[in-house]
Symmetry: C2
Subunit: 409 residues, 2 copies
């Protein structure tokens, strides 16, 4: 009988999926049979850790902040930077399979570790493509996936920036997230606020809705697609603040959105779960905006509302286990709890008791030690048979449930 350790060696030395190995191993799992590594221990890591722990798996996260959210959920933590080669090696070599809760990490180092035979999903090569939003778009277009027209910025003048006319969207190729690294240039007269780093312009899409879909793909290519959702953004910070599931769109558009989303993950040869953000244009075209190679804010509602949530689905996918059903049990609305403007410091939340008295509300607080304006501090999900009523409840709660800082009070 093989001991856990030899199981792990066996695991590391072959290219078979864990599922195949289990079957070869008489379909046996030894506990903790699977050691998962996660680059990043924020809220996405925390929710992944819970689902992994639920199944008896062992998790290590790499994160620079001691006692990060994922560590609070029972992961072992390596304290270090996402770009620290030694720490990345420590994480990967300590784990049977490694994944991410953030795409800002050293893909070169991870690619080297993958070439040594370590399992890393999604692949560092895919991550590198995603990291550069321009390369990402070009790859999608090569796969004949529709996106907004775009062009690399080689000169910071109107002749280049104005190519698609104004207003136009300028995006940094790298390093952007949660609205950072994106500006809208209203006209050519004032170029003060433009991005000076490597960037591209994108035609300004006067969209009808912003849609998002989670798609999971297994090591063996098995695909599961979640319902299409509508994303709403806080315009002050251009950050997602509400997600409505399912999206209120025509059946044909839903099917088109699913088809395109699945195609995206196939084009990228992705393994794991992916968040596909899209525009629905006023002339009813579906254009892919960008892709998150990990669990995504637009999929938090799946924890309560779907048979298998995005976090467990990701764990299943990267460990080669069968994917779960993505069926929606009940309509849901998710609202992000963003740090209040003008508030910095130890968080204090207002209105919690009142919020918890709302029928069908589930509350998440990530355990971050400091709140900052628009920082994602937690979220709520409201389930209601009646989607319209769920949206009303969500908007109500949004008005009184606030994350402030003690010292600002």
């Amino acid at each position: 009988m093989s001991r856990p350790d030899t199981t792990h060696e066996f695991f590391l030395l072959t290219s078979l999926s864990i599922r195949e190995k289990i079957e070869m191993n008489n379909n046996r799992f030894h506990f903790p049979s699977i050691k998962i590594g996660i680059v990043g221990g924020g809220q996405l890591g925390k929710m992944m850790v819970h689902k992994a722990r639920k199944m008896g798996f062992y998790v290590t996260v790499l994160d620079p902040t001691p006692d990060c959210p994922a560590a609070q959920a029972g992961a072992e933590q390596i304290v270090g930077s996402f770009y620290d080669e030694d720490r990345l090696r420590e994480l990967v070599e300590h784990s049977d399979v490694t994944t991410y809760d953030i795409e800002h990490t050293d893909t070169k180092v991870l690619q080297g570790l993958a070439e040594e035979g370590n399992k890393i999903y999604p692949s560092p090569v895919l991550l590198e493509t995603i990291q550069d939003k321009l390369r990402q778009k070009d790859m999608l277009n090569k796969g004949s996936i529709p996106t907004a027209r775009h062009e690399k910025v080689d000169r910071f003048d109107t002749s280049c920036l104005g190519k698609f006319g104004f207003p136009v969207v300028q995006k940094a190729q790298k390093g952007g997230y949660d609205g950072r690294g994106v500006v809208v240039i209203k006209n050519g007269d004032n170029l003060e606020s433009i991005i000076r780093s490597e960037s591209f312009i994108e035609e300004f899409i006067d969209f009808e809705k912003e849609l998002a879909i989670m798609v999971a793909r297994g090591i063996d290519g098995e695909i599961r697609c979640y319902p299409v959702t509508e994303m709403f953004f806080d315009e002050r910070a251009n950050i997602c603040d509400m997600v409505v599931a399912p999206a209120r769109i025509e059946k044909e558009i839903e099917e088109e959105a699913r088809r395109v989303a699945i195609r995206c993950v196939e084009v990228l040869d992705g393994v794991g779960i992916f968040g596909i953000e899209m525009f629905l244009t006023r002339d009813k075209r579906v254009l892919v905006n960008e892709i998150a190679p990990r669990p995504h804010n637009s999929g938090h509602y799946t924890i309560e509302a779907c048979l298998t949530c995005q976090f467990e689905q990701h764990i299943r996918a990267i460990t080669g286990l069968p994917l779960g059903s993505t069926r929606l049990l009940c309509p849901a609305v998710m609202v992000n709890l963003l740090g209040e403007e003008g508030h910095h410091g130890h968080p204090a939340i207002e209105g919690l008791a009142k919020a918890l008295s709302v029928e069908g509300l589930s509350f998440y607080f990530y355990g971050k030690k400091t709140t900052l304006p628009f920082k994602k501090m937690g979220h709520i999900t409201i389930l209601d048979e009646n989607l319209g009523r769920a949206i009303e409840k969500a908007k109500e709660v949004k008005d009184f449930l606030r994350v402030k800082a003690e010292v600002n009070a």
Copy 2:
């Protein structure tokens, strides 16, 4: 502005519910605002810890086994016995509110700590009543709650044991759980297997079904009742192995069962969640069998199937927060993964990949280091619109998903 510490002092020194305090404190929560202590860190503790962590609360558990299941979910652990006065004091004084995942602890010590002003829910006095199954039954009867006829055993002879005729059930007053401390005496000829400790006999109920209900009660008396479920037992060990929700019973019986269950928790003046086990007799009477003063095996299905699960409900109740909706989203069947007979040692699970391919199945493995025959090692929950199909799936999985020990292979 009060700091977290003063919030805690404030909390400890008044008799107001946390909810009232939050409101007095401008409805403000400071994170981690609530420190929860749990006596016992098994699977119930683990699932409570997850829900507490989800809301940003801090948890400490007292358990003799290092790296107990609850510690794996992100609780701080005090390693020690449930009967160690110093460790119990350490736990309670380190926490704003203390609760249990097991009823076998020193209620005298806890009562002393409660009298010093520490919050402990349910109250140690209630726990003491529950610990003695005879006192528990007598208290229920005083509250005019129907139970099987019973009588204290004062002589180990047929004149006493045979009072209700044979077969008869003999139960130890204290220390029994998961089928331990209960024997069925078939006739008066063979009394070898009878219980020799403090015990009572109970008339043998030839029941139609065994039912269970979870009932939550807040500090302010608010009550929420979950659906009635059917419990099935593995006869080899008389331990619960399957729970079906909702119970397949007539509406009137369901209403009667709910009414009786709620009455039980009121009679006990309970705070927290309670599992009420009942018999449905062939002549359609509902008799209370026994009460668990904590989350209960019959309520595991609520994690996936109800708007608010039993574990979050318990956390809400003991912290004085509003209780959540208990609405059933989808029929569900829960199956316990019990350690295989004849297997002792480091656990290995067979059939996991196959099980995860079953539509609507959720898998839990508690992270216990050793498997023993009939030990609760994990569970699965299957959701299906069609309850009959859910039961079929559950029985199928029960046949191939097995927890063995490596060395026995």
